[in-house]
């Protein structure tokens, strides 16, 4: 499910420190709520991937890829 443009994905991929901005973005798109936003910041990237998979925003394959390759892979998945 595309929730961002390729340009936005590129912008995230070029960030030095993306976690807060990406959480804020997902919340602004109502993909996650405030509780999940907080949960991700407390637990880290794996929680973000888990949550996006639970919500079927990304597939199991994309989730695995994100855990293998990191957030760049994830944000381009979010732009598909």
């Amino acid at each position: 499910m595309a929730i961002m443009t390729k340009a936005q994905a590129k912008n995230f991929a070029e960030m030095d420190d993306f976690m807060l901005e990406l959480c804020d973005f997902l919340k602004s798109k109502s993909v996650i709520d405030a509780t999940t936003h907080r949960s991700i910041l407390l637990k880290g990237f794996s929680r973000m991937v888990e949550c996006l998979q639970e919500k079927k925003v990304i597939s199991a394959r994309e989730a695995k890829e994100a855990m293998d390759k990191g957030f760049t892979s994830l944000v381009y998945s979010l732009a598909k």
Partner: protein, 654 residues
């Protein structure tokens, strides 16, 4: 009750009153234990304007819900007070076996207040607690007093916390030991204990820790102990202790040569863990339930100091009175200095920090032999350092000035801003032997933001940038990116520091050794939650675990805010941000690097929700963490901090 003992022991040395206070379920769930319990007591009972040496000041010793169990390394204790060195929040923690013994005696925390009429020690024998005469112990080294108390009480198996002569003389960076050699080094609580005429606390516990789910507990503990066997950091720490870092520090340019004038030196291997193991290592030691055993015991075989023995040293204990003061040629001088700071009971980091600052003042002509009482403070002058350490501990001559800590000493000598440039402190506390231009930008950020001042490797402990690369996939799992594995980069560091500070704070509340959870990433947060729930029978989640750390961190930050310390003080010494790293050895990896603190600070503030102007914890965050009363305390101080009169006061300590 499972896990916790469920009570706090309070000893008032002025009145001789001994009370036991129950710790409610809600309280335990909110603060977890150890560092959390202590930070809460210090925030609520030690106001901002109280002199740390005032009898009304408190000193706390805390253990956690898994202390004394079979989880990896559960012997740690946090000691907390208002720091006489910085005037702000101060804590430090130590290994050994005393923490487990306190739990077996039936206590989660001891709070000591008041001042005894003459030197005393506290004797805790399960539920019997006595205040005993210690006049005959005053002036003794911890190793001497430990033996005397054991003989007096007729039990070699008890465990004792002690201060040395420096604590008795209220040296502002005196520390505390248990089992003779295991030090809680930083922030000067040894002086606070000495100000109370308290020499130590002996404990014998015959009880146990009740485990809610013994099978689940044994399963997780067995699994983790097996996992430690191949852990690469564990192997290095066991073989060479934390001195295993010397050659790494030299290669990556964070070896503190001459007060951080340089970051590498061709002779560094003289004091490496490998050399130590070949030349002076007598045996290895482990703390309670530890699968790592990084402790050393040193016996000097040759030269001027032949025959000297002591527990240690750690990396952070050896480098301050070694390369930081220019001593590197003969490692026996370094081992000897470490033995001296132990015996006199002083924080090795601060001792080396204040001496190296004085040496640089001397080098730059800010002081001469007129001020030093004839001591020639030249780099590498081992004879002078050998003389100065006891002089500091006993407050004799020039040592009395240095006993005040680097920033106060600079002011007493009237050296102005030039003097402070060379003190290499943040919020009044000397940075440890780790140069952020090489060790890592995450570490540097955490030195600026530490809630106990220019704190050391044991605050955020963002080893994800130090040893993270040894654990493939770990940085991605937490940070979503492997690039933060590299120390000298800003990539991912603000979030790394935020995450690790929370994680480390809760680890300190559990009172397990962070070497199991950070340097060695064998035990991760889910593992900690698993053994915590097996012990307590409760249902902690990972989020709740991390949130406790965030609560503790914000409370400690609020303590500083109450002292009018905030954004202006979120700095590291200018040397790191303005002087490019020089070349010390030809294989050094960080030549020319400066530390870019300001690039990361703004983002870090956003994670923490600190106010941009004051740097105080934001009201929304405090309320989210159940700290509404703290938000009320800070409300009137926010505008005051920003006022013109307050801005004019450049503060190095409080």
């Amino acid at each position: 009750m499972y896990g916790w003992a469920g009570q706090r022991l309070r000893v008032d040395l002025s009145t001789g009153t001994i009370t036991k206070e129950p710790l409610t379920y809600e309280y335990r769930r909110k603060w977890m234990g150890g560092r959390g319990f202590n930070s809460d007591v210090i925030y609520n009972e030690v106001p901002a304007n109280l002199d740390p040496f005032d009898p009304k000041a408190r000193v706390c010793f805390g253990v956690g819900p898994v202390s004394g169990t079979a989880a990896p390394s559960t012997g740690r204790v946090t000691v907390t007070c208002k720091s006489p060195l910085t005037g702000g929040f101060g804590d430090s923690n130590m290994g050994g076996h005393w923490g487990a013994e306190l739990k077996y005696a039936g206590y989660d925390q001891i709070v000591v207040q008041g001042r005894a009429k003459h030197p005393v020690y506290i004797w805790i024998d399960d539920d019997k607690v006595e205040i005993r005469d210690a006049r005959h112990l005053w002036g003794k080294f911890p190793r001497e007093a430990d033996q005397m108390i054991k003989e007096e009480l007729g039990d070699e198996d008890i465990h004792i916390v002690l201060i040395g002569p420096a604590g008795e003389n209220m040296v502002r960076f005196a520390c505390t030991f248990n089992d003779v050699w295991r030090a809680a080094g930083r922030t000067g609580h040894g002086g606070v204990i000495g100000s109370k005429n308290l020499k130590g606390i002996a404990v014998r516990g015959s009880g146990t820790v009740k485990i809610a789910n013994p099978k689940a507990m044994m399963d997780v503990c067995n699994r983790l102990r097996q996992a430690f066997k191949p852990d690469p950091m564990k192997i290095g720490l066991y073989e060479f202790g934390s001195l295993c870092l010397i050659n790494v520090a030299n290669r990556d340019g964070w070896f503190p040569w001459r007060n951080f004038q340089g970051g590498a030196h061709p002779l560094a291997n003289n004091m490496s863990g490998e050399t130590h193991a070949k030349t002076v290592l007598k045996h290895r030691e482990g703390c309670f339930a530890c699968p790592i055993c990084c402790g050393r015991f040193t016996h000097i075989k040759e030269g001027k100091w032949a025959g000297e023995e002591f527990g240690g040293p750690e990396y952070e204990h050896a480098v301050p009175t070694g390369p930081r003061v220019g001593i590197l040629e003969d490692a026996n001088d370094i081992w000897h200095n470490a033995r001296l700071t132990n015996d006199y009971g002083m924080d090795g980091i601060e001792t080396g920090g204040v001496i190296s600052a004085a040496m640089e003042w001397y080098e730059k002509g800010l002081i001469t032999t007129k001020e030093t009482g004839g001591l020639e403070l030249e780099w590498g002058n081992a004879e002078v350092v050998d003389k100065l350490i006891p002089m500091i501990a006993t407050r004799k001559g020039f040592g009395a000035i240095l006993a005040e800590g680097a920033d106060r000493a600079s002011d007493k000598l009237g050296l102005g801003d030039k003097g402070h440039y060379y003190t290499l402190t943040t919020r009044g506390m000397t940075l440890p032997g780790d140069d952020p231009r090489g060790l890592g930008f995450g570490y540097g950020l955490s030195f600026a933001m530490g809630t106990r001042g220019g704190c050391d490797h044991l605050r955020s402990l963002c080893c994800l940038e130090l040893s993270g690369a040894l654990y493939p996939g770990l940085n991605t799992r937490i940070l979503g990116d492997e690039r933060p594995n590299k120390p000298v980069t800003t990539v991912g560091k603000p979030y790394m520091v935020y995450y690790e500070e929370n994680q480390k704070a809760t680890t300190d509340c559990l009172q397990v050794c962070c070497f199991t959870t950070h340097w060695c990433y064998t035990v991760l947060t889910p593992d900690q939650v698993e053994y915590l729930n097996a012990v307590t029978g409760l249902d902690f989640t990972e989020e709740e675990f991390q949130e406790i750390g965030e609560r503790v961190y914000n409370l400690e930050r609020a303590y500083w805010a109450r002292q009018m310390s905030g954004a202006r003080e979120d700095v590291v010494p200018e040397r790191f941000t303005t002087e490019p790293m020089p070349q010390g050895v030809d294989y050094q990896t960080n030549v020319g690097v400066v530390f870019p603190l300001s690039e990361m600070l703004k983002k870090y503030y956003k994670y923490r929700e600190y106010e941009p102007g004051t740097g105080f914890p934001g009201e929304r965050k405090l309320k989210q963490l159940g700290l509404d009363y703290v938000a009320k305390d800070l409300a009137p101080l926010r505008s005051k901090y920003l006022s013109e009169s307050e801005k004019k006061k450049k503060k190095y300590y409080y």
